[in-house]
């Protein structure tokens, strides 16, 4: 049934596996909720208009632009941020590969690439160079020229049995 949502009625969300209830007006954008309300600052704000991919998070496992997602539309879905794909100790294989291959320079776009890359490797561990290039082509990097990012993703894919 339709019930218009306005004001600060609280919503229930699952973020990084933890269910939480928080106040959230209808116009709240997921990125703002993560960064401003929950201090999950690993997700970056690069353009706020869906044109850089720095704010990529996983929604039910799919990489999406959190700057173009209404927080309320994430109700009932699982949100995973960079904090959620980072192991309690150490790094994930993809994070490790990014460090070792020099796939991060200034690092601002990196969490977004990790999210996109994580989803890609889960679905297509054997992705070819061209497939990787296509898959990351909504994430902008101004430092690396992408070559080492592609290398890092490919290296992890090759290790995956």
């Amino acid at each position: 049934m339709d019930s218009p949502m306005s004001g600060r009625a609280s919503i229930r969300l699952t973020i990084n596996g933890t269910a939480m209830e928080l106040g959230c007006p209808p116009e709240r954008i997921l990125l703002d909720l993560l960064r401003e309300d929950l201090n999950l600052t690993g997700t970056k704000r690069g353009c706020d208009l869906g044109t850089c991919g720095c704010c990529t998070v996983l929604l039910d496992g799919r990489p999406v632009l959190s700057c173009l997602t209404l927080a309320r539309l994430a109700i009932g879905h699982d949100v995973t941020t960079i904090e959620g794909v980072t192991p309690a100790t150490g790094l994930s294989p993809l994070q490790k590969a990014f460090v070792e291959h020099g796939a991060t320079q200034c690092g601002f776009c990196t969490p977004g690439f990790i999210m996109t890359g994580t989803a890609l490797l889960r679905d297509h561990p054997d992705a070819s160079r061209e497939e990787i290039e296509r898959a990351i082509s909504g994430n902008l990097c101004r430092c690396t020229g992408y070559l080492k990012i592609v290398e890092a993703i490919q290296a992890v894919g090759k290790e995956t049995p």
């Binding site: 960079i82 200034c106 990196t110 690396t144 080492k148």
Partner: protein
């Protein structure tokens, strides 16, 4: 005759070392300015001018001030002290005073409880102005104008800076030339487009101090500018540089919003944050200047360069920024890597009512290089010389002096040429690939640190590094150098670890904080590796010597018989007699507690004694020779650079992983300028202030890159290293431009080379009756 000494080898230097802060970046734990939240912080927003040029009659902020949630509204008159990155051209204010000079100029600043409130307050501000004529074309600005944009324009014009230089006798050289060429290059403005938008937090505290966190690549200049404009002594201001998400020159000027943000904090007594949206970033610009240049090159029958005759007209936008340097660089950086015996240059940088241009990666060396390299390619064709042969004949020799008295020490340019030629298979490809496919050569030359620091008073070293080694065995490194993603923190740690002989994880590079970091003048002019590297090495040696002295007391061997091993100090040629690093450290601490060490770098005196002689002088230079291979769809004009062979002389590559990263990233950025990036103006108005319409190349557009690091050790560089942060960009553009000529027989002298220009170029060639590779 003795065999030449083999270059030394090192434990860490020269290997592939991942960034020490990499694990923080890949997990989102690296802290950028906008990730910091101060208790009770306000949000600031800026009212920007909708007029390209106007005199402010009055600003009514009363309604905005009265709005609930608004803490402060500031206009320009409270802090009218002008500032600017160069001491000689202070023409900016934190907020406009008297006039606005471009669409986007800051008219007022608001601090409020949140962004929405601040935005509403902006809309309530009423500005009454007298609209003044806009000046969009620098050609108009070289004449006397009705309303100069700045009072400081030369003789009632909008000329901000004019440089005229003449060395040798250019007219005589042209008179005796065997051949000559003229290139009229036209370059659209481009911008840095780092992924992290500018952000600043300022917090004035009741103890009379002001702390500023900012996304800056030159914390020291920001520190100075804050002090000058706000009237607070430097020692009561603390500047902190968190992680910075890319700079490329765009965060090197002290910027008005940083000062306005601090002013709002002083006004309210509360922390104030300002975060730019993408349009703010684009209109703040300070990117590469839109430029027209007119280049003539004369050669003798053997292809030896006799003279350059260059004019450059540079569109500065609303402020000076680095413009005086830009005006010199467009001339003086055109010569190397070649010997040019006669040189004449006239460069003019003209104010326009557009967002200011400034320093962008390979500042001043990129556009002129493209014209020169396309000209040389054309001359080689005229003389039936291979482009490689022509360049090799003109290479500046090591340990030589240029006609304008640049001191050249190391150059491996000829090695670069040989490597690029051989690896690219040039001799089998040049003019031999089918129509639509081609190879091209482009070369590069860039300063490895500006010899003259922008701020020279008080006279002080360009970089100082402090080390503290305490009982925990760690070494804390303090230096105000700015890592903006290029890997300078890592290099700092590597150099200290190398010299002191310890594991890398013992070295902790402390976040830049003016309260504790000794001055370094920041990340610009490709100075960090060379200058910080030398300072770090000296600091490391000082610490090492303290450890050696202590080890001498413990072992009974004199210090000169001791050497640093891995995590230990041992007797030379007797590695069985040693003392661990920790034991030596603790022994050294018995007398004085924690060890402190300092190292500094000041570049040696150099350059001629004529006006402007210091511009472009550097303690070393990088050299490059790139081959690009391109594939063109001749019907649509859509092309792809398929591969770049990048032979680069950065001396010894101190961290090969980082150097490759700089080269690959530079190629990406260079190809962006070549292929489609453009600050698209209609009149004074920027039409594409967004990452959607500013066309940064995607992964699918990247060529394969083969890095050929062939440099020999530089005699003065740290461990023989030179810059690799900016020079690698320069050769990219002409290599690809010349490859397009080889592919389709058209010389494109206007950047960016969009597909429509390729199609038009091919049509014009066809209309002229010139066939290419057998295709009409």
């Amino acid at each position: 005759m003795a065999a030449p000494e083999a270059p030394p080898t090192y434990r860490l230097i020269g290997t592939r070392i991942p960034y020490i802060e990499g694990p923080l970046k890949v997990t989102g734990r690296a802290e950028y300015t906008d990730d910091i939240k101060r208790p009770g912080q306000l949000i600031a927003r800026l009212l920007r001018s909708p007029w390209p040029h106007a005199r402010i009659r009055s600003i009514d902020v009363s309604a905005a001030r009265a709005m609930p949630g608004v803490a402060a509204v500031l206009t320009g008159e409270k802090y009218p002290t002008p500032f600017g990155v160069l001491p000689i051209t202070h023409d900016e204010t934190a907020i406009a005073v008297g006039k606005v000079r471009y669409i986007g100029d800051i008219v007022a600043a608001v601090a409020a409880v949140d962004e929405a409130t601040a935005d509403r307050a902006l809309q309530a501000i009423r500005v009454d102005v007298e609209v003044l004529p806009e000046y969009t074309d620098p050609k108009t600005g070289v004449e006397k104008v009705a309303e100069p944009i700045h009072a400081r324009g030369l003789n009632g014009t909008n000329i901000q800076k004019e440089v005229v230089q003449h060395f040798g006798d250019v007219d005589a050289a042209f008179a005796q030339a065997h051949a000559s060429v003229r290139v009229r290059g036209s370059y659209a403005g481009v911008t840095h487009a780092f992924t992290e938008p500018m952000a600043t937090i300022a917090e004035a505290t009741p103890d009379g101090r002001l702390t500023v966190w900012s996304a800056t690549q030159v914390p020291h200049y920001l520190h100075r500018a804050l002090s000058e404009v706000l009237g607070i002594p430097m020692h009561r201001i603390r500047v902190i540089k968190p992680e910075v998400g890319g700079g490329f020159g765009g965060k090197s000027d002290p910027l008005p919003h940083e000062i306005a943000c601090a002013a709002l904090s002083l006004e309210t007594g509360r922390p104030v944050k300002i975060l730019f949206d993408r349009e703010d970033v684009f209109v703040t610009n300070h990117g590469r200047h839109p430029t027209q240049n007119d280049v003539r090159i004369a050669v003798d029958a053997g292809g030896k360069i006799l003279a350059y005759d260059i004019e450059a007209l540079i569109d500065g936008g609303a402020w000076s920024s680095f413009g005086t340097v830009t005006t010199y660089y467009n001339g003086v950086l055109s010569m190397g890597p070649y010997r040019v015996p006669n040189f004449r240059y006239r460069g003019r940088r003209v104010y326009t009512t557009k967002p200011p241009s400034g320093a962008m990666r390979a500042h001043g060396g990129t556009n002129i290089r493209y014209s020169i390299e396309l000209g040389l390619d054309e001359l080689a064709e005229q003389l039936h010389l291979d482009p490689f042969d022509l360049r090799e004949r003109n290479a500046l020799p090591p340990h030589s002096t240029t006609v304008n008295q640049f001191r050249i020490t190391s150059t491996s340019f000829v090695k670069c040429l040989k490597a690029a030629r051989e690896r690219s298979g040039w001799d089998d490809k040049f003019r031999k690939l089918p129509y639509g496919r081609g190879v091209g050569l482009g070369c590069g030359f860039y300063i490895s640190g500006s010899n003259s620091p922008i701020h020279f008073t008080p006279k002080m070293p360009q970089c100082t590094v402090h080390l503290k080694a305490d009982m925990d065995g760690g070494i804390a490194v303090h230096c105000m150098q700015a890592d903006i993603g290029q890997g300078s923190n890592t290099l700092l740690a590597v150099i200290v670890a190398e010299v002191v002989g310890v594991d890398l994880d013992r070295v902790h590079v402390v976040r830049v904080d003016s309260d504790v970091s000794p001055v370094d003048i920041g990340s610009y002019s490709s100075r960090v590796t060379f200058m910080m590297g030398n300072a770090a090495r000296r600091a490391g040696e000082s610490l090492r010597d303290q450890l050696l002295a202590a080890a001498a007391r413990v072992t009974g061997y004199p210090p000169e018989k001791l050497v640093v091993g891995h995590e230990k100090i041992e007797v030379r040629h007797r590695p069985d007699i040693s003392i661990s690093y920790i034991d030596a450290l603790h022994a050294a601490m018995e007398r004085s507690g924690a060890l402190l060490a300092s190292g500094a770098y000041t570049s040696p005196p150099m350059g001629g004694d004529f006006k402007g002689a210091r511009a472009g002088t550097a303690p070393a230079y990088s050299f490059a020779a790139y081959v690009a291979e391109v594939d063109v769809d001749v019907e649509t004009g859509i092309y792809k650079v398929e591969k770049v062979w990048a032979a680069f002389d950065c001396g010894r590559a101190l961290n090969r992983l980082a150097v490759e990263g700089q080269i690959e990233g530079s190629i990406h950025m260079g190809l962006g300028q070549l292929m489609g990036e453009t600050m698209n103006y209609r009149g004074s108005r920027l039409m594409n202030p967004s990452l959607l319409e500013y066309k940064i190349p995607t992964p699918q557009q990247m060529p394969q890159v083969e890095c050929l690091l062939v440099g020999d050790d530089d005699p003065e560089g740290p461990f023989g290293g030179k810059e690799a942060g900016e020079g690698p960009l320069i050769a990219t553009l002409p290599a690809a431009g010349n490859a397009l000529y080889d592919a389709v027989g058209v010389r494109f002298h206007e950047l960016p080379i969009t597909p429509e220009k390729v199609v038009r170029g091919i049509e014009l060639r066809q209309q002229s009756g010139k066939s290419w590779k057998g295709v009409s």
